[in-house]
């Protein structure tokens, strides 16, 4: 039976320090979703959250992470001192038969295990990181302004963020362990092609000293980045899930209107839509990025330049706006360089993927192709690299695709992942599990890398045959990485 969806019911930000007098508890609330919630209820929800926060602190040096009730799951995050982010999800339920309902004194069975802490917590953490990326840290806002400005910023950002289906806050049904990692797909390249991109970025930075960071993507895959790893993940998610898809629609519209066709080899996605028109400089996202010291945030404009399937993102000091002349100069520099780089990367990646497909099928016949009986998910915590075959991409579609394995198997991956995390199994760990439906999971953790293989329709299967089969897959797909056996 397919269960109903878990929903994000509430999301709120509060700070106990904002209220000093009894009767003014509403002052603690910085942001509350849904905004239509009665103030009394808002105060009550915040009051409960605060009580749980305080009670936890009485017994633990670690802050509370989640609260489970029969019907809901709340996750807590204190991203900056004194400020708490709380997200509340409904627990999905299935109606009970009349007799069972009478015995349980409830009319439905609540499937608490289908709302997973690790997933919920990551959604909340991402919400904060995206907020910080676009609005800066809370401390920064308070330093420059006051709580009222903070409230406005939160309201401005989250009312849009929560409404955006790409962030899947409303339906954690769609969220899986992939959400937990929210990894970056790297494009494997030859050394020569990689160096060419590297030189391109160096040259741009040498010419325009205001460029603080840069990253280079090709076909939604990352090639090169100088951003902090956390920012890389956030910016990557923003580009791939929000900016690029939106721009793909613009591309079509512009083609219809005949705009931009003159500069077919390169153009700004953010910034001036048409370089022939100096009056329109377009809009440029302003982002708050982690400085080289890893601490303080630097405010930057993000210019995105597209040529072929390659995109170059330049993060420019936000002190002064980029002038029309500067855009023109950048365009002159980038057009030939980007066209060349894009071609090289395209050719190289095609060659590599053909070669790897050939070697994988030669090696074992279970190389993770579309019809393989082993699906895998790999994540490297050191560089956020992710590789996965758990989604099947419908032919010609750019969307993430549909899950190729049963949802419960993905949940099982998260169960095992949570078990490893909770018990401090950080290295050299392996868990093999056989489900009630006779599918197998092999989960490995090695040197800050996570690997999950889901084996279905593999007969005859037993513990030894399955682990051997998965080892073969690892050798074919990850021959450069040493896994424990």
């Amino acid at each position: 039976m397919e269960d109903s969806e878990a929903q994000c019911e509430q999301f709120f930000i509060f700070s106990p320090s904002l209220c000093t007098r009894e009767g003014e508890e509403a002052q603690k609330i910085v942001y509350f979703y849904p905004a239509s919630t009665e103030l009394n209820l808002q105060v009550k929800c915040v009051g409960l959250a605060e009580a749980v926060v305080r009670f936890t602190a009485d017994f633990s040096d670690q802050p509370v992470r989640c609260l489970t009730t029969l019907k809901s799951r709340q996750v807590f995050l204190q991203p900056e001192p004194g400020y708490w982010f709380v997200m509340r999800f409904s627990v999905p339920k299935i109606p009970l038969q009349q007799q069972a309902a009478a015995e349980a004194k409830e009319d439905a069975e609540y499937l608490a295990e289908n709302v997973q802490d690790v997933v919920c917590h990551e959604l909340l953490h991402q919400a904060y990181l995206m907020y910080r990326l676009f609005k800066g840290s809370i401390a920064m806002t308070l330093e420059r302004g006051n709580v009222e400005i903070l409230r406005q910023k939160c309201n401005h950002f989250f009312s849009r963020y929560l409404a955006d289906p790409n962030h899947s806050c409303f339906s954690i049904y769609q969220s899986t362990l992939l959400e937990v990692y929210r990894g970056v797909t790297f494009l494997p390249l030859s050394k020569r092609a990689f160096l060419q991109v590297h030189c391109l970025v160096q040259r741009v930075q040498a010419t325009f000293s205001r460029v603080r960071f840069a990253c280079y993507l090709h076909s939604d895959q990352l090639v090169w980045t100088s951003l902090h790893p956390t920012d890389t993940r956030c910016v990557y998610a923003y580009l791939v899930h929000s900016l690029f898809p939106r721009h793909a629609e613009d591309d079509l519209r512009n083609l219809d209107k005949g705009i931009g066709s003159s500069g077919a080899f390169g153009r700004f996605i953010t910034g001036p839509p048409n370089l022939d028109d100096p009056s329109q400089l377009g809009s440029v996202p302003r982002l708050f990025l982690t400085g080289p010291d890893g601490g303080s945030l630097a405010e930057c404009h993000m210019l995105v330049y597209r040529s072929g399937r390659s995109s170059l993102c330049l993060f420019v000091d936000a002190g002064d706006p980029v002038t029309y002349e500067q855009y023109l100069a950048l365009d002159r520099l980038l057009q030939p360089l980007m066209r060349h780089a894009s071609d090289t990367v395209q050719t190289c990646s095609q060659q590599l993927s053909e070669a790897s497909a050939a070697s994988a099928s030669a090696a074992s016949g279970s190389g993770g192709g579309a019809d393989s009986h082993i699906r895998f998910l790999y994540f490297n915590h050191m560089n956020s690299a992710q590789k996965s075959t758990v989604f099947v991409q419908p032919e010609g579609s750019k969307r993430p695709g549909v899950l190729a394995v049963k949802r419960d198997l993905m949940r099982l991956c998260a169960d095992v992942h949570a078990d490893h995390c909770r018990h401090g199994d950080l290295v050299d760990t392996e868990t093999v599990a056989k489900t009630a439906g006779d599918a197998w999971l092999v989960a490995k953790k090695f040197d800050r890398r996570d690997f999950f293989a889901l084996v279905t329709q593999f007969r005859p299967a037993n513990l030894i045959l399955v682990t051997e089969e998965v080892s073969r897959l690892c050798q074919a797909q990850f021959h450069s990485i040493l896994f424990i056996e």
């Binding site: 009051g47 009580a51 009670f55 009485d58 017994f59 009730t69 029969l70 019907k71 169960d415 513990l463």
Partner: protein, 480 residues
């Protein structure tokens, strides 16, 4: 879940319920504060008051007392104890605390009660919350609230099971009928009725920490040759021909030697664990035969049975459970007959021999890679586990293995996605959990053992268990 008893049993036990009725509690109420702390804290949470715990007037009034409390309870050592357990009434009156004097924890218990009722106000139930290193698990019953704050490998579901055991221990001391009557007055101090609660609850907690039985819902048996066990069963059956006798149990320490039951009556493992705990926690049983009322909640939560308890030697304890509150003399006589028969059949010596530690070791299984295992026969509700020896000689090693079993158990027993098998390897050990229709098996191996050799060893253990099945388990259960 105290409702799942055999209906028939309830009818037959009408007498026991009636007996409990006469045992009226003295519901006197000692001078209490005008408002229970819980009500105050509840208001505070509802209003989101900054000073969460108490309103100002009461704060001043209780300030001095609280200073004393703070000294005792808020020491770092108390705060960060590995496992706190609290029991309180619905109005927040303390009943039990594992660490520290529950009297001085009024404020904490008030907050816990308030959390429960605030969530209930919105037609919901608080189950648990957690930080990176601790879990806070709540069990809210009709009259009592039980809370566990724990730093361990156990899952919330497993901790909830422990709280359920503690709740049933309280029922076992009182019966649900008496509990219900006591709380006609909502701020009744239940400790008046539970003078020994500390001893039994602490004893049960220690038992659950050491013994995997409660987690598995299974009892461990003393290994015995089948002929000896049959002879023990016969001795109890024929020796105890007393009307209204429901169960006759012979225990060696915490291990079951034999269980004889009235026709159509079944002894739930939880009830068995409560009987074991009763005996473990009562020193006076060791010196003389005793007669005590006991409620077995799974059997009938509303009324008492009566237990005749007598130690036949240092370890060996005979328990006869009846619904008749006046049959002490008859049962004492029955004991003599049983003892005589046991001696005649030379059972006592064999039981003593088997009880000697180290008698049942891994070496006998011939499975080299297996360092320890636990095997449960699901249908019988019984398990066998060899003595933990090297390399798990130290208590902390044993706890580590236990923690691994608990993790495997939690992964295997997820309600919505149960597993059949799980094999886990980390730096320190390899461990396996395996569930079939018939059995549940947990085994620990060296971390260096290959899967192939581990599986071969497990198969050897299973073969050995098959051969020794009749010795290791109590599979025939005679009835009176």
């Amino acid at each position: 879940d105290e409702d799942d008893e055999d209906k028939e049993a309830n009818e037959e036990l009408g007498t026991a319920t009636a007996a409990a009725e006469t045992d009226k509690p003295s519901a006197s109420e000692p001078g209490s504060n005008s408002r229970p702390a819980a009500a105050v804290a509840e208001d505070s949470i509802a209003a989101g008051v900054t000073a969460l715990l108490l309103n100002e007037a009461e704060q001043q009034q209780q300030q001095k007392q609280q200073q004393d409390d703070v000294e005792e309870t808020l020491t770092a050592e108390w705060r960060t104890a590995d496992r706190h357990v609290f029991v309180m009434s619905r109005s927040g009156k303390p009943i039990f605390s594992r660490h520290g004097n529950e009297e001085k924890l009024v404020t904490h218990m008030g907050v816990m009660t308030a959390l429960v009722s605030v969530v209930e106000d919105s037609d919901d139930q608080v189950h648990w919350f957690e930080s990176a290193d601790r879990r806070f698990v709540f069990l809210a019953k009709e009259f009592l609230i039980l809370v566990c704050i724990c730093r361990s490998a156990e899952s919330p579901t497993q901790l909830l099971l422990q709280l359920n055991y503690l709740y049933n221990q309280i029922l076992s001391l009182l019966t649900f009928t008496v509990l219900k009557r006591a709380f006609r007055k909502s701020n009744y101090d239940l400790r008046h009725l539970l003078p020994d609660a500390d001893r039994f609850l602490t004893g049960l907690l220690q038992f659950m920490e050491r013994d995997i039985g409660p987690l598995l819902g299974a009892v461990q048996c003393l290994p015995l040759p089948k002929s000896t066990r049959d002879a023990v069963g016969d001795a109890i059956c024929s020796g105890a021909r007393v009307k209204d006798l429901v169960f006759g149990i012979l225990l060696s320490g915490t291990k079951l030697v034999s269980l004889v039951h009235m026709k159509r009556q079944y002894l739930h493992p939880l009830d068995m664990h409560l009987i074991i705990n009763l005996i473990n926690c009562t020193e006076s049983f060791k010196t003389s035969q005793a007669w005590t009322p006991i409620c077995l909640p799974k059997f009938d939560a509303s009324g008492n049975l009566y237990a005749y308890v007598c130690f036949l030697d240092e370890e060996l304890c005979l328990v006869l459970l009846t619904v008749d509150g006046n049959s002490f003399d008859a049962l004492a006589e029955a004991k003599n007959k049983i003892l005589e028969k046991l001696q005649k059949a030379n059972c006592l010596a064999q039981i003593r021999e088997s009880a000697v530690a180290g008698q049942w070791t891994l070496a006998q299984t011939g499975a080299e890679e297996v360092r320890h295992f636990v095997y449960k026969i699901k249908l019988a509700g019984q398990y066998f586990s060899p003595q933990m020896g090297d390399p798990f000689g130290q208590p902390e090693d044993q706890q580590r293995v236990m923690a691994l079993y608990q993790r495997m158990h939690a992964l295997l027993h997820r309600r919505t996605r149960p597993l059949k098998l799980v094999y886990h390897t980390n730096q320190l050990a390899s461990v396996m959990g395996w569930i079939t229709e018939e059995f549940e098996l947990y085994a620990a191996f060296s971390p260096l053992a290959s899967k192939r050799s581990a599986i071969q060893s497990v198969n050897r253990v299973l073969k050995w268990l098959g051969r020794e099945r009749d010795r290791l388990f109590c599979l025939s259960s005679p009835s009176f």
